[in-house]
């Protein structure tokens, strides 16, 4: 994301949001922000996919 979008749009912040969405529902603004960021950012799309793999891995671990 270009810096003009500000700190709350950084990959650092988005990765925290991706993690938090596994534990709490997002606000509608967060949902928009996330969707927009993932559209443009390959690295965060990979991270998002990895978090889903981790969740599946833990499902496997306990079953």
């Amino acid at each position: 994301m270009p810096p003009m979008f500000g700190h709350s749009f950084s990959c650092n912040e988005i990765s925290r949001l991706v993690s938090r969405l596994q534990d709490a529902p997002p606000s509608s603004w967060e949902r928009v922000k996330l969707r927009l960021h993932l559209t443009f950012c390959v690295a965060c799309r990979r991270f998002d996919a990895q978090m889903r793999v981790l969740r599946d891995a833990m499902r496997l671990y306990r079953s």
Partner: protein
Amino acid sequence: MHPPGFAADLEGHRAYLMRVARLQLRDDAQAEDVVQETLIAALAGAGFSGKSSLKTWLTGILKHKIVDAIRRKQREPIAVSGFGDLGDELDIEDFDAMFDRTGHWSPPPADWGNPEEALGRRQFVEIVDFCLERLPPNTARVFMMREVLELETAEICKELSITPNNLWVILYRARMALRQCLEQNWFAADASRRGAAGPGTPATP
């Protein structure tokens, strides 16, 4: 009635249940107690329908026994459930180091290729276990409460007397550490296996 060999099947899961209980309670004797109670309840109960796996069902019983044990522990005035060092773990290993000053990934997460294949492999669960063991103890404990015992976030906050924000930070750190560990120990090796001349490729005669 339970099928023949049911008790032996239960016994086969004792080691797994002990690991989960020990991590949560930090006390071998208490862990043995809750595991014993779990196995007795499993033998006595007619609740196993075969809809879920036996391990999942046992984990569900264990969860209630552990929550009860944590509650009993918190009623004891001394040693508030041994959770005093959680603050230290919140400070260390700042994952801001995974990002550059402008907030971009550095290095970016790798492409994990075909994770379905990994999830189908027995050794993958062993690597997950290896990575869980490497988490700081309280971070592992909170992560397992969420992902293995499947407690709701509100329940975890209540049991541990922490705020939702604290909890999100701990879970974030656990997930960041686990993804890094899995990437290094499984998916990097996996990628080299996929490559024709990868170090893991056995020589063909």
